[in-house]
């Protein structure tokens, strides 16, 4: 039972927490605000916060100059397809581990986790070389497969922890009711696990969207997603703050919104169920 706190105390908590929260959020807020300024206002000293001429010009310029839509499309395709593919492969695996556990289940889960811990830079050249030899450098399909493999351990883990919360008796009931394995997964398990599958989808979409090692190193033009698009603003374009801000806002806005929805699942997903 929570105890009653004085209003004063609560007000103090609120003030401190909001100040810190806004401070931490400030870089994002500032980026969003700046994206609506002119370049001159963007670098004005002292900085202007809200009282400037709001303009959408930067968005138009960024879109026009750098073909933003192509990068966005790539981001959506890479993150979306790799995540869905990962889930299709992970659902049966997670079903097996959650409902037909064996002595080796734990070892397999931990081994999967260990592949996630492999530093990418350690295998950079082999992957790079394989991509060249297979002719798939700067190729969407190759990146989809790589992003899928990077996130597969997390997907399996998340689904596994969600599935474990579903009582096995229900699946047995389906079996008694004459359901085949396919029916059991399709009509009983999947609908029951929809919230868990949705969270898994969301979090892994975000992780794939933000992945910035392989997408920077294995793409140039055709398959490059938004991470690479932003990196191209490194300099000197980066000094045009308003344009940089517009480009950044476009790259992070969709994911920020999704992220806020998935924050609860974030803990479960990234700690492999060790913190709930």
């Amino acid at each position: 039972m929570a105890r009653a706190v004085t209003t004063q105390r609560k007000a103090l908590n609120t003030a401190i927490a909001w100040s810190i929260g806004l401070l931490i959020f400030f870089p994002i807020l500032w980026t969003i605000l700046t994206s609506f300024k002119t370049e001159a206002e963007a670098i004005a000293n002292p900085p202007v916060f809200l009282f400037f001429d709001w303009t959408l010009e930067n968005y138009a310029v960024v879109q026009e100059r750098s073909n933003y839509m192509r990068f966005l499309t790539n981001s959506v395709i890479l993150a979306g397809v790799s995540t869905i593919l990962g889930i299709l492969i992970a659902v049966p695996a997670a079903w097996s581990m959650a409902f037909v556990p064996s002595k080796r289940t734990k070892d397999i889960l931990l081994w999967m986790l260990s592949t996630k811990m492999l530093p990418a830079v350690g295998v950079l050249y082999p992957i790079y070389l394989l991509c060249i030899q297979l002719g798939v450098l700067d190729n969407r399909l190759a990146l989809i497969v790589i992003l899928m493999l990077i996130n597969l351990p997390i997907i399996v883990w998340m689904l596994y922890t969600y599935f474990r919360e579903i009582p096995g008796e229900i699946l047995e009931a389906a079996r008694m009711d004459g359901a085949s394995l396919k029916d059991e997964i399709l009509y009983v398990l999947t609908p029951m696990a929809i919230p868990g599958i949705a969270s898994t989808l969301l979090l892994n979409f975000i992780l794939a969207w933000n992945e910035a090692f392989w997408t920077l190193n294995l793409t140039s033009v055709n398959a490059a997603p938004l991470t690479a698009f932003i990196a191209s603003y490194s300099s000197p374009e980066g000094l045009f703050f308003a344009k940089l801000s517009a480009a950044s806002t476009m790259a992070i806005a969709p994911i920020l919104i999704m992220g806020w929805f998935s924050q609860k699942q974030l803990v479960r997903g990234l700690t492999f169920g060790a913190v709930k």
Binding site: E172, A173, R175, M176, S180, Y187, V188, P191
Partner: protein, 334 residues
């Protein structure tokens, strides 16, 4: 139809044999109850019959057909689970129709059967609700509905009433018995509650550590328990056991007498004891009596009210014709 035979069936989990070789015959239309303390293997036995577990050796036949290798879906049995195992994302209608949908029956036939089952189980008004919106008893009925629509060879019940409160349990007990009368189908029912076993069964199978201790009708078990375990397990309150001098007098290692077969008097009787706790239920009074030479308390049932207080001396007289004698192995001496 619903004749099930188990021949030399065993089950081991790894090194541990939970069911040593076991034979059992379940006749068509019978209501058979597996009863025993928790961990006695009764649920495992049911799951073996269902096909949810493989037998380690032995054979199961259902209506004369070998079923040992047949997957659960193809055995023609229906099961009601302890947790009901309803599909939470489906309405009551869809839950009940699920086995029919799996059997690919046409929609009209599905609807017909669901409506019929709902009528029998008083669920007609709830068909469009989801399991989460139902009470415990209603969920129980949905689980039963899902079982009856497929017209199985036999019903398997796995402790179906253990999640209900006491009053509802009595009701559902009657409903299931009623259902058995109506459908006249074989039912196998697992419980740890001997009252359920006594009140519902045509035939009780008492299990202990995976071994069948006795098979018989409720009254057979009550009057002629084969051994001390069955004698102690069937009947409530438990049978009293007396060892030592009194037993030796009757040529036994141990004698047993049920609480309802002992006369109590404040003046005279065969055995002398001191009253401990007494429980007054109105209709009956249960006395716990400390007796020299008996390790545990004797429990005695007296009809109506009996005015004895803690520490009073009373005299007990067992009904000699209802006395059970057991030998050193715990077997009943006829």
């Amino acid at each position: 139809m619903g004749h099930i035979t188990l021949k030399q069936v065993t089950k081991s989990f790894g090194e541990v044999q939970v069911i040593p070789p076991l034979d059992l015959e379940i006749n068509d239309g019978e209501f058979v109850v597996f009863v025993g303390p928790s961990g006695c293997g009764k649920s495992t036995l049911l799951r073996l019959i269902a096909g949810l577990e493989d037998v380690s050796s032995g054979e199961i036949t259902i209506d004369g057909r070998a079923a040992t290798e047949v997957p659960p879906a193809k055995r023609g049995l229906a099961m009601v689970f302890q947790s009901y195992a309803l599909y939470p994302h489906m309405t009551v209608r869809k839950n009940i129709a699920f086995p029919l949908r799996m059997a690919k029956l046409d929609i009209a036939e599905q609807n017909k059967r669901v409506e019929a089952a709902a009528k029998v189980l008083n669920l007609t008004d709830y068909l469009d609700r989801r399991p989460g919106q139902l009470s415990g008893g209603q969920r129980q009925r949905v689980a039963i509905g899902r079982a009856i629509v497929r017209e199985p060879a036999a019903f398997l019940f796995d402790e179906p009433l253990s999640n209900l409160d006491a009053a509802l349990r009595v009701n559902m007990r009657l409903e299931i018995s009623e259902l058995h009368q109506t459908l006249d189908t074989t039912m196998i029912y697992v419980t740890h509650d001997q009252v359920e076993a006594m009140t519902m069964a045509d035939k009780i199978v008492v299990l202990h550590a995976g071994v069948i201790e006795q098979v018989g009708s409720p009254l057979e078990l009550y009057h002629e328990p084969r051994n001390k375990f069955v004698a102690g397990f069937i009947g409530s309150p438990k049978m009293n056991f007396v060892e030592g001098e009194e037993a030796v007098k009757l040529n036994a290692k141990c004698i047993g007498i049920r609480p309802e077969h002992i006369g109590v008097s404040l003046e005279s009787g065969d055995w002398k004891g001191t009253v401990g706790v007494s429980e007054h239920l109105g209709s009956d009074t249960f006395l716990r009596i400390k007796m020299p030479g008996v390790q545990e308390h004797m429990t005695v049932r007296v009809g109506g009210e009996f005015g004895a207080r803690h520490g009073d001396t009373v005299y007990l007289t067992p009904d000699r014709s209802k006395l059970h004698r057991f030998d050193a192995q715990g077997l009943r001496i006829a």
